[in-house]
């Protein structure tokens, strides 16, 4: 399965990962249109955290024991057995945000328009997730790992 890690020692906190994430999850996939013209505005699924000199970005860890999946009241959240990706079915999600309360990473976002949680999907249309592909300092790295059982 794919996993994304951050090497915070080389993260500059530039936020490009967030910009590309937002664009990738837009309808137009156009950086300018996505920001200026799309309503509702597409949501980025990655957070950039800063505290003084320290910064890093964080997105869903696609945990081996996904407590969000086990806590989901509706069955909208699943861990795909084949890819290991933790996915959200926005139509089944009721926006109760129980997953948000149990995520130790604070990696989930409320999509208030859809009343559904928005999260990292590892960019299913891309070989390399866009946050990793576009990190100018290679602070984000992609790995391919075995799915733990």
């Amino acid at each position: 399965m794919k996993k994304i890690y951050v090497r915070e020692e080389v993260c500059m906190g530039c936020g490009l990962c967030r910009v590309y994430c937002q664009t990738e999850h837009s309808r137009s996939k156009d950086i300018i249109k996505a920001f200026k013209r799309e309503t509702p505005r597409p949501l980025p699924r990655i957070r950039v955290e800063r505290n003084g000199e320290t910064c890093f970005s964080i997105q869903c860890r696609h945990c081996d024991e996904p407590v969000c999946v086990y806590s989901c009241l509706t069955g909208a959240m699943r861990k795909d057995p084949a890819s290991g990706t933790v996915t959200i079915d926005a139509d089944r999600c009721t926006g109760c945000w129980t997953c948000i309360l149990v995520c130790p990473y604070g990696a989930l976002t409320r999509d208030e328009n859809r009343k559904a949680v928005a999260k990292c999907d590892l960019c299913p249309d891309q070989e390399v997730p866009v946050c990793v592909a576009n990190c100018p300092n290679e602070a984000l790295v992609l790995t391919i790992e075995e799915i733990a059982h």
Partner: protein, 445 residues
């Protein structure tokens, strides 16, 4: 009469909901062949119980409430006997009797029978128009009447009562909710948060009555009004009784199974009786905040407890990490995340810090610098980080000041804690990215 059949199964699960499904899935992960039978008296494919409120509002159809896809039982080779009641257990002989007269013999048993609504001793409860609100059938029955009713009363200002209140209000009814204690959601929230929740309901046109209770239900055949303890009469043609649920322990009453308020289970979700397990609303399982067993009737605890039970039933030893009272609610758009002890029993032993800004509220309850309770309103996206500190019993003395700050995040924690959470890649697993030639071309020009 045909002779009653006896059915043999390796794993018998009573209850087709959060707990039962969690167990069945865990068993199938580790035992592909052992026969699994799920029995439930509700004649439905497993559905999300909390969504009955959205069914009542019309936001969800039954199909939209399904907790698992329609082919779930088939895909997992589960014999689902839906619409069947287990009427008795023979623990020593490892049998279960069904209402139909059939018998099931089992090797491992899980009791995930959930709860039954508490019935108050109010007179007039037998009138028509009076309902509970814990099952799809309840929601369906109410649904059928909703369009011909204009006024409803809900008894009980807890999670289920307020869910019913919101749903009925959204269907256009004039709703009054009556809570016996001095504030609604009093077991989940602290005073400030309860007040904010009550205000939100009132802004939606709901009347919230506290410190009061329904003394009598009036009406001939149908309910026509309720009379409160203080004498006030409130007209209504629909009455929802939601004063709580109790563990559904009828099957083990008088058996050699340890029952306190619920069925007592250890950290493997096993009861004191060999090969008999329990989970969910019927069980008293480990609570990591109180460091003792207690009832914590919420969906995630039932499901996670069920998974742990399932693994252990299939012979893979697994420990329940423990759960606590933990709820994420949103009534009329007000997001609330709360867990643990929201209102400390003795003020001087616990330290409370809180912060209120327009529309948002955050509070932590601590003891010896360990978080034991939390409430977040409005701003809830980082609540999971606080919850994880509580769950891991992290000493927060050195960074307490940051916990309620606006920009609180993972990075506010000591480096050791966030570093551990971020994880580190194994060098040999890192994917080499292609060189970005185009970019260099542009730069050369």
């Amino acid at each position: 009469m045909a002779k009653a059949r006896t059915l043999k199964t390796k794993y018998l699960i009573i209850g087709n909901s959060a707990g039962g499904i969690g167990a069945a899935e865990a068993i199938r992960e580790v035992d592909k062949a052992g026969s699994i039978t799920i029995v439930s008296d509700e004649p439905y494919h497993c559905y999300s119980r909390p969504l009955i409120a959205k069914y009542l509002t019309g936001e969800r159809t039954f199909e939209g409430m399904l907790f698992r896809p329609l082919d779930f039982y088939e895909q997992n080779a589960i014999d689902a006997r839906l619409g069947h009641t287990v009427t008795g257990l023979g623990l020593d002989k490892r049998t279960a009797a069904l209402e139909s007269g059939e018998r099931i013999t089992w090797e491992r048993l899980l009791i995930a029978s959930g709860g039954v609504p508490i019935v108050p001793d109010t007179t007039g409860l037998d009138k028509r128009g009076v309902f509970n609100f814990i099952s799809l059938d309840d929601a369906r029955a109410i649904s059928e009447l909703v369009d011909s009713a204009t006024k409803a009363v809900v008894i009980g200002g807890g999670l289920i009562g307020i869910s019913a209140t919101e749903a009925l209000s959204k269907r256009g009814l004039e709703v009054t909710v009556v809570e016996m204690k001095d504030r609604i959601l009093n077991t989940i929230l602290d005073e400030e948060a309860s007040r904010m929740a009550a205000e939100t309901l009132e802004n939606a046109g709901i009347r919230v009555i506290t410190d009061n209770t329904v003394a009598e239900i009036m009406g001939k055949d149908w309910v026509s009004s309720v009379v409160l303890s203080d004498g006030e009469e409130i007209p209504c043609s629909l009455l929802v009784v939601a004063i709580g649920v109790l563990p559904r322990i009828d099957l083990v009453q008088g058996a050699d199974i340890k029952v306190n308020r619920g069925i007592v289970v250890d950290r493997t979700m096993a009861t004191n009786y060999p090969d008999v397990y329990a989970c969910g609303d019927v069980s008293e399982a480990y609570d990591f905040v109180l460091d003792t067993n207690r009832l914590t009737p919420i969906w995630p605890n039932a499901h996670i407890g069920g998974r742990v039970a399932g693994y252990n039933m299939a012979g893979v030893r697994t420990e329940y990490p423990g759960g606590t009272a933990m709820n994420s609610l949103n009534y009329f758009g007000l997001d609330i995340a709360a867990a643990g002890i929201a209102t400390p029993p003795e003020k001087n032993v616990y330290e409370c810090v809180s912060r209120r800004e327009d529309g948002t509220y955050k509070k932590l309850v601590m003891k010896d610098d360990i978080i034991l309770g939390m409430v977040c309103i409005g701003d809830i996206e980082k609540s999971g980080i606080l919850y994880s500190l509580m769950k891991d019993r992290v000493n927060v003395r050195k960074f307490k000041g940051a916990l309620l700050a606006d920009n609180f995040g993972l990075v506010s924690l000591p480096r050791r804690l966030w570093r551990e959470r971020l994880g580190a890649p194994q060098p040999e697993q890192v994917v080499e990215l292609p060189e970005e030639e185009e970019m260099e071309d542009v730069m050369d020009e």
